[in-house]
Amino acid sequence: MADLTVSIGALTLKNPVIAASGCFGYGVEYASSLDISALGGVAVKGLFLNEREGHAPPRIVETPAGMLNAIGLQGIGVHRFVKEKLPELGRLGATTIVNVCGSTLDEYCDVARVLSDADGVGAIELNISCPNIKEGGIQFGCSLTGTYDVVSAVRKVTSLPLIPKLTPNVTDPASFARAAEEAGADAISLVNTFLAMAIDVETRAPKLTNVMGGLSGPAIRPIAVRMVWECRQAVKLPIIGMGGITNATDALEFIIAGADAVQVGTANFVNPMLWADMIAGINDYLDRHGIARVADLVGQMTTGANS
């Protein structure tokens, strides 16, 4: 049995497998089917300060080996979350990572303050990369100074582990990783979804009411792995990698590319019972390769023989 623990700032994860934000509700939805305390962490649906309606359906459309979503960050707001969901997550033994959204810099800080005062938040994942909303979010995430500013502002108001979540919709994600590191992040997570669209040729209308959506799922995995690897060369921070992970092999690919932990989003829709197998599969691999700690595998891609 290998040591699967992962350190993200002050937070220790039992293992590197985290449910991705927006793909696991508030975590509690899954508690009747599986033991969510066995996961490395649960990243809950993105939260603004207040409740939010989200976009009109249809909100998803399937694409080759992937899907588009334009949920529009429907959510109950951080106050109701703290009151209604957080205590239950605590009772269930979940390691809770709260995905924080904002339309303005102030809103990010306000949400972070509420969470800092609450009991049972493991870390804040700063969502500056949702492609589905017009104001805030992606505006910060696609600008280096925006990224730096929002991370350093939130850094000032919270001592919770702070994990900016980066967008893949930029020329050079590694530069954003560096901006996040300089601004005081404890870790980074990537990738959020790729801005994309699909059109129904018969009606000539976009398949999503919101026109654009975010592409996720196995389709994007090779791009996400590349970006994690680029960021690994650029920063010392822990990296939480994601994008199309469906099984232990995919998770290991991200870890070898440089991810300290991984998140699983779309694959949970396809197979909500995948968690135990994925964690066991990572452990088996480590045992089979005589690697004592998962941390020892991070970034261990070998290029020598091939380059």
Binding site: C23, F24, K45, E53, G54, P57, P58, R59, N268
Partner: protein, 276 residues
């Protein structure tokens, strides 16, 4: 509560070039299922198509001793996944997650249960009819299709004691026209002191018309909606339907708060018709 099982295909009865009934060995799901619940089905192994598809649990199959042994699905080919289920062969394994969603609440006598099915919307009513029969509740099935070849399992319902009222759009069976016509006559003809609960499943315009009739004749009406669903477990927020709740209207996740809704709570204008 829901379980995920690699269910073996026991049989695949192709009713027409469009419809089939797929029987799956899934005792774990059969045991837990309530009328109107659904399963999320992986229509092919691998990544094409990627997502599961939602299907009402049609019948609960029982072994000779009467124990729940499996479920059947009434499948209509409309695209990639439903075509794969149409082509499935006995022995294939199909991942099946369920049971999911809020079931129908079957009424008890003296109320009657009136089921209104349009096309493949028949699917959730086999289990509901059994539950009504178990309560001794008199029931009627208003069943509409495009033509005679769109109508199935009438004897199943007749054997349970249901009164059948059939309509077809082309007049090839039963009354010509929409299923809502005889429903309206029946509602109009029923004395106010004889309670009725209406249950509807079918195309959105049909369900909306039934909902309107339910309001007009002041009868409790439940609909089983069929929005696109990404996960079926409350994880993705793709399946929302706008409903009236204390304090206003809200998008609620139909996979966990539905698919069965009180028809008066549904904000019908918000249901995008192109996709249902």
């Amino acid at each position: 509560m829901p379980v995920d099982v690699p269910a073996a295909v026991v049989s695949n009865l192709r009713l027409t070039p469009e419809y089939n009934v797929l029987t799956l060995a899934a005792p774990e799901i059969a045991k837990l299922a309530a009328p109107g619940q659904f399963v999320m089905v992986k229509t092919a192994p691998g990544l094409d198509p990627l997502l599961r598809r939602p299907f009402s649990i049609f019948e609960i199959m029982r072994d000779p001793a009467g124990a729940p042994a499996g479920i059947s699905l009434l499948n209509k080919r409309v695209g990639v996944g439903t075509t794969l289920l149409y082509q499935a062969e006995a022995g294939d394994r199909i991942d099946c997650l369920g049971p999911l969603g809020q079931p129908f609440a079957p009424v008890s006598p003296p109320a009657e249960g009136w089921m209104v099915a349009g096309g493949v919307g028949l699917a959730p009513f086999a289990t509901l009819a059994q539950a009504l029969k178990a309560r001794g509740t008199p029931m009627t099935l208003f069943y509409g299709g495009r033509g005679a070849t769109d109508l199935f399992y009438e004897s199943f319902f007749a054997d349970l004691g249901a009164t059948l009222v059939i309509t077809t759009e082309d007049g090839s069976r039963g009354e010509q026209g929409r299923v809502t016509s005889p429903l309206e006559r029946a509602l109009a003809g029923r004395p106010a002191d004889r309670p009725v609960t209406v249950y509807a499943c079918g195309p959105t315009p049909m369900m909306r018309a039934v909902a309107d009739l339910g309001v007009r004749y002041a009868r409790a009406t439940y609909v089983s909606l069929e929005p696109v669903m990404g996960c079926g477990m409350g994880g993705c927020y793709s399946c929302v339907v706008r409903v009236t709740r204390p304090g206003g209207t809200h998008f609620v996740r139909s996979c966990i708060e539905g698919p069965v809704f009180d028809a008066t709570a549904v904000v019908w204008d918000a249901l995008s018709e192109g996709h249902h």
